[in-house]
Symmetry: C2
């Protein structure tokens, strides 16, 4: 499902590096996009702020202006990574979670594909995690009360038919486009029979929606409880093709899948809605290596490719993906997370040289 | 922390095989306990029912009688595994979740230790997951409403200071008894700042409780976000020693850790409260192999050992553990989950022969 491709003269891309290595990898992705030249409409970049550092400087983690510019002026965006305070800080709240909701980017799509050759000799992985991106525990409705035995905190986990249906449909579309056409629904309805029961039944009901006329007949459907899904991801990852999950399970499962393919530094994602798409590397802000110039830019470059593909520019997307794959396969210019000794810039240059 | 060992003349053990392979592995654990002879007080077994099959037969998944007999007559219990209906069934609700709450078995303790030699050549694992067992999303307060866009389901996630403190204290005790004395707190307070914030702060506050007088000074404390914890479990499991987690994260993390050591069929657990303990293999009811006589009884035998150790019978517990370890290390008599060809009974006999 790509966004409607009204012929664009230029592509306005919001850049929100945010914190930590986000500030090193997003500029690299920008260079890679520029290098695509005429394969995509002329890119125009808008630098935007958000994050923990932004909060400590301005008192706001996600300035209203950032949201407004993304919403009203940009075609798409790239987001880096956010640091979290090590203690609860009043007024601070994750800007990426807020952005996903404010722009209604309801699908977090995370393809996890093995690099070849796999240094760990693990079975080859090729799956997509399709994570619901707007609700579940991420609605962040939490309250604190004082009970008989001290503090009591409660959070609401929201699962709606509407959100489950649209993420389900996105997952069926993605499954249909793949060779195995296999969809696994992740839930924990043996405990959460109402919320996860609704998620499961709604996703299962997608093929029966009016107007689809057997469109998804070729897609096979399976289910896994989230605990068992993590277990099986480690033991027999080959059973998975497309996995669709409520928000928090999707968060955990995509990290589990990432662990199988070598490094979080390779895993791209997009946050996609019906009229906006934002690329985002799955890795965090990595304070331990911040500022050293050795962050792996490949997840961000791949996120740019995913974003471009979602916008309908598959030629540009393919070029980026092929260049990244070649750099990985050659194995000469890699950052330390992939047991290499190269810098962010050297890896970027290697990618650019293959475009 | 073991339960007070008033000298017992006999040990009354409730047996709840429940569903699927539970009915094959719990009898094996019973035989192993009997074979301990005078190393433990004379065991007396009480057969009790619960589970999905029980529900289909009697309309109740956890008969009141089962709870009452456990509470009033038994010193401890062994629980097998439960099957879940493949669709939501009115009136059915997981009996194991209910039992944990009704008997206030607030700590689910799951040691995960590699078998040696590890067929997968993975780094050797030796950790304990300490899972809070009574709250989080497992309070099962769920409601369904009809909103503007269709059904909306909400579940409550409850985290209390009291439950976080007692599970925290259990985790510190376990960490203190180990050579590495390292405790990792698992949470997701970058999103759930109130609920997981309370969990994190309360566990961190345990060493400062009145009367402890620096007891836990030797324990080092770390933290991991749950997604990152799963990632690092795969990538660098050696960083973990004792992990303490709210209920659902603990559920997922213990399956992740189990995947690292070869088979869920090896992982034991106890559900422990201040005055009752119930052993339980971590694996499920495995409908695919039910009735074939090839279920791995080792997790159940190890659960019996953990239960006995918790009751203060470490001599009996050691014997069982050593016998199980020898059977695994010899590698001749193993069930198919461990790439062997032996039956449940053959593995049981092998264990008995080493006692
Ligand atoms: C930073 C955090 C709020 C975020 C999430 O939980 O969604 C991250 O883990 C992710 O996966 O994008
Ligand atoms: C069967 C299920 C309710 C249970 C749980 O989620 O606690 C199981 O997965 C476990 O880990 O004991």
């Amino acid at each position: 499902r790509s966004l409607s491709t009204v012929a664009r003269k230029s592509l306005k891309i919001g850049l929100i590096p945010a914190d930590g290595i986000g500030k090193e990898v997003i500029p690299a992705a920008k260079q890679a996009i520029i290098a695509l030249g005429s394969d995509i409409p002329k890119p125009e970049f808008v630098d935007l702020i958000a994050g923990w550092e932004c909060f400590t400087r301005t008192g706001v983690a996600l300035p209203e202006e950032t949201v407004e510019i993304l919403r009203n002026e940009c075609d798409c965006a790239l987001f880096g990574s956010v640091s979290s305070p090590s203690r609860k800080v009043t007024g601070y709240s994750s800007p990426i979670v807020a952005l996903r909701k404010k722009l209604d980017l309801y699908a977090n799509i995370r393809p996890v594909v093995s690099v070849s050759p796999d240094v760990n000799q693990r079975p080859s992985i090729d799956l997509i995690v399709v994570r619901e991106n707007t609700e579940c525990l991420y609605v962040k409705e939490e309250i604190l009360t004082i009970g008989e035995h001290g503090k009591e905190a409660r959070a609401t986990r929201l699962i709606t038919e509407r959100a489950s249906r649209r993420i389900g449909q996105m997952a069926f579309e993605l499954a249909l486009a793949r060779s195995r056409k296999h969809l696994t629904i992740i839930h924990k309805s043996n405990v959460l029979s109402v919320t996860d029961g609704l998620f499961r039944e709604t996703v299962r009901g997608v093929p029966l929606l009016a107007g689809l006329n057997g469109k998804y007949d070729g897609v096979t459907i399976a289910e896994q409880l989230v605990d068992s899904a993590v277990y099986r991801l480690f033991r027999e990852p080959e059973i998975f093709d497309v996995m669709v999950a409520p928000n928090l399970y999707g968060d955990i499962i995509s990290d589990a899948a990432a662990a199988l393919v070598g490094s979080l530094g390779l895993i791209p994602s997009i946050n996609a809605g019906d009229d906006f798409v934002m690329g985002e590397p799955v890795h965090g802000s990595a304070p331990d290596i911040e500022g050293k110039g050795i962050a792996n830019p490949l997840a961000s470059i791949r996120s740019a490719a995913l974003m471009l593909r979602h916008l309908g520019y598959s030629k540009g997307a393919d070029k980026l993906d092929i260049a990244v794959d070649r750099v990985i396969r050659e194995g000469r210019v890699l950052t330390p997370d992939l047991k290499g000794t190269s810098t962010t810039n050297e890896v970027l240059e290697a990618v650019l040289s293959k475009l």
